[in-house]
Amino acid sequence: MDLKLVRESRQGSRESFERLIIRYEKAIFNAAYRILHNYEDAKDVTQIVFLKAYENLESFDPKHRFFSWIYRIALNESINLCKSRRRFEAAEHIRIEEQYTPEKILSRVELGVVIQAALMSVAFEYRVVIVLRHFNDCSYEEMSEILEIPEKTVKSRLFTARTLLRDTLCKRGIL
């Protein structure tokens, strides 16, 4: 399906590319949001991802999955943005962490905020595997392709990432 749409997009069909956007904009936007924790940044990254994908469709290798390719673009763009915004992150974490205590957590929305804060407290490489696995439902194999690392490394990063998250949430009394 994706390969057909890519082929048609390469031939100049904007409709086919629009269908690719429809298929993946939500996933890319959510991944970017979870990684960056900023609505506007996630919006910018999503836009850049699809523009870059469109401009570089010729370089897409059909041996790989299209979604792996655009996820990789999204991660690279998120890394770039993270680097440029790094100095603002620490202050942001503290502000969110202090807003919620176990007693005050009532809704899933609030729980989502706490999870997001916990996510932002772990290093980028661990945050990414959590996002891909739990928010984008990627398998080990897919994550390995997206991140261009062996499956063994994916497993080990997930293990560490969850351990770090668990410890953070335990401290907050969530687990």
Partner: protein, 263 residues
């Protein structure tokens, strides 16, 4: 196996189970282990709860205007011709054909260098010029590296690539029944556009981006493009010729593997 090693391996197995990546045998082994290790049961329960929380975090709504903004920002796209240069490359991978090409290129190089190395190009009239065209004034010092003949319906002429030191001059002598849009792509990290001119008449449509140049040729017209890069950078030029949105010809010139260029 040491206790800590065993514990670590079963922890890994718990993660694999949570992710749906454990085999039936591994699941059975994990169940057996959990049955005899209460502390592992606690860790397992916490992991399951963490996973449950993560899997139930609500998705963020995609901004309503996002798709429209992306679509509005997409640049116009021209269809890719799936023949021509791609086929040439695939044939080139066959050793016998590759050596045949190399031999032919070598012979052609001899002929080209003997025949045209010291040729003076016909003087051209001055016209509107983009950038610096002084390099073109020294054309007698250039060595013709490669030439492309064009004989497709609606378009005749030739494209000639000449080189000297840092400069590459591409002369498009085109004769089209209709206006022809020419697109030249190259590795922007190796070369940039130094100048461009057209005779007769002024430049009507010309656009430069990093790694690409596009212009329009009307009727019988000579367009001269000067690229400058590192000495003997020899970028591969990917040429496309369009009438309207229809790609009518495509090919490549130059590149390091091409004959006729100073090494």
């Amino acid at each position: 196996m040491s206790d800590s090693r065993e514990k670590y391996e079963y922890m890994e197995l718990m993660h694999a189970e949570i992710d749906g990546e454990a085999s039936p045998e591994q699941l059975a082994a994990l169940r057996e282990y959990l049955a005899h290790h209460p502390e592992a049961q606690i860790a397992h329960a916490k992991l399951a709860k963490l996973t449950d929380i993560l899997n139930h975090v609500e998705e963020v709504e995609t901004p309503g205007d996002l798709r429209g903004k992306i679509l509005a920002a997409l640049p116009p796209r021209r269809p890719t011709l799936e023949i021509g240069v791609r086929n040439r490359h695939s044939l080139f991978r066959i050793p016998l054909i590759r050596y045949g090409y190399a031999l032919a290129a070598g012979l052609l190089l001899g002929v080209v260098l003997t025949g045209v190395a010291f040729r003076n190009l016909a003087p051209v009239e001055k016209s509107a010029v983009y950038g610096i065209m002084t390099a073109r004034e020294n054309m007698p010092h250039y060595v013709v590296a490669e030439q492309m003949k064009l004989a497709t319906p609606g378009l005749a002429g030739s494209v000639q690539l000449s080189r000297s030191g840092h400069n590459e001059v591409v002369v498009f002598d085109l004769n089209g029944e209709q206006a022809v849009d020419v697109e030249v792509r190259f590795d922007g990290s190796r070369a940039g556009v130094e100048g461009f001119s057209q005779e007769p008449s002024n430049i009507r449509s010309f656009e430069v981006k990093e790694g690409s140049v596009s212009f329009r040729s009307e009727g019988k017209q000579r367009s001269t493009l000067v690229l400058k890069g590192e000495k003997h950078a020899q970028p591969l030029l990917d040429l496309k010729f369009y009438v309207g949105d229809k790609l009518i010809h495509q090919g490549t010139l130059g590149g390091e593997s091409q004959a006729g260029s100073p090494k």
